[in-house]
């Protein structure tokens, strides 16, 4: 089964994303912000990254840009899961190399469908 890196500065959001993913059989590694995620991504590969946008130290778009610089994450799907819904912000995410943009709140069933689609 796939291993997913879940990045969010909100502990409750990390809990909810992890619970949803683990219930579906995925292995989940949590990170508290972009910087933490970047450090965790050095030591291991992930099949998918789900990241929040607004976080201290490093936001989701900057994380996406940094991960795309690494050959290990060149083709790894990266989903940005955020409260932000402006077109400008989505465009920035797309330019940084994100695979998709999901606006919170997420529906657990829909999230799992999207994960299945992008990890195929």
């Amino acid at each position: 089964m796939h291993t997913i890196l879940a990045v969010d500065d909100s502990a409750s959001m990390r809990q909810m994303v992890s619970f949803t993913l683990k219930s579906a059989g995925y292995t989940v590694v949590e990170a508290v912000d972009g910087q933490d995620a970047l450090e965790k991504s050095v030591s291991r590969d992930f099949d998918l990254v789900i990241t929040d946008q607004n976080m201290p130290r490093m936001d989701g778009i900057s994380l996406t840009r940094k991960l795309r610089e690494s050959p290990h994450f060149k083709n790894t799907p990266i989903l940005i899961l955020t409260t932000e819904s402006s077109d400008e912000m989505k465009q920035s995410g797309r330019s940084a190399g994100a695979t998709g943009w999901m606006v919170k709140p997420f529906d657990p069933t829909k999230l799992l469908e999207v994960i299945k689609k992008v990890t195929r």
Partner: protein, 141 residues
């Protein structure tokens, strides 16, 4: 601002700081309540999954319990209000604190270094624009 009596400005500043302290407590209460709810929902879902595992999915009990899991999933969507509320509270807290600090400097004068003590106003508008808890959109690039 110089036309307002100093005691009025001091009272205004005091009110703003009281409001920011109340927001801090509200933030703490919401976080604690939400963490407990998630823990309880996760526990209930875990128990249900144990009950239905190894049983044929079409069994009467399994169908009903799967329905319960769907309800818990819906609750999980609604519980994300805490993340949005937290961002709204943080944004409002920063703005109020900036106003309180500015009032202090404007009314009582500033000395060297006071500017550095003023909490900066948020650079961007509030990031949370949702007004209901329906699941958000999904866009794959």
């Amino acid at each position: 601002m110089s036309q307002l009596p100093v005691w009025t400005v001091a009272a205004l500043q005091d009110d703003l700081l009281t409001a920011t302290n109340d927001l801090d407590r509200l933030q703490g209460l919401l976080t604690h309540a939400c963490e407990t709810l998630i823990e309880r929902f996760s526990g209930a879902a875990g128990h249900i999954n144990l009950l239905i595992q190894d049983k044929p999915p079409e069994a009467v009990g399994c169908v009903r319990l799967s329905g319960a899991i769907d309800h818990l999933g819906g609750a999980m969507t609604a519980l994300q209000f805490q993340d949005m509320a937290s961002q709204l509270i943080h944004h409002t807290h920063t703005r109020l604190r900036h106003c309180a600090d500015q009032l202090g400097v404007l009314s009582f004068g500033s000395e060297d270094g006071d500017e550095a003590l003023i909490v900066a106003a948020p650079l961007r508008p509030n990031p949370v624009t949702q007004s209901e808890m329906d699941a958000g959109s999904v866009e794959l690039f």
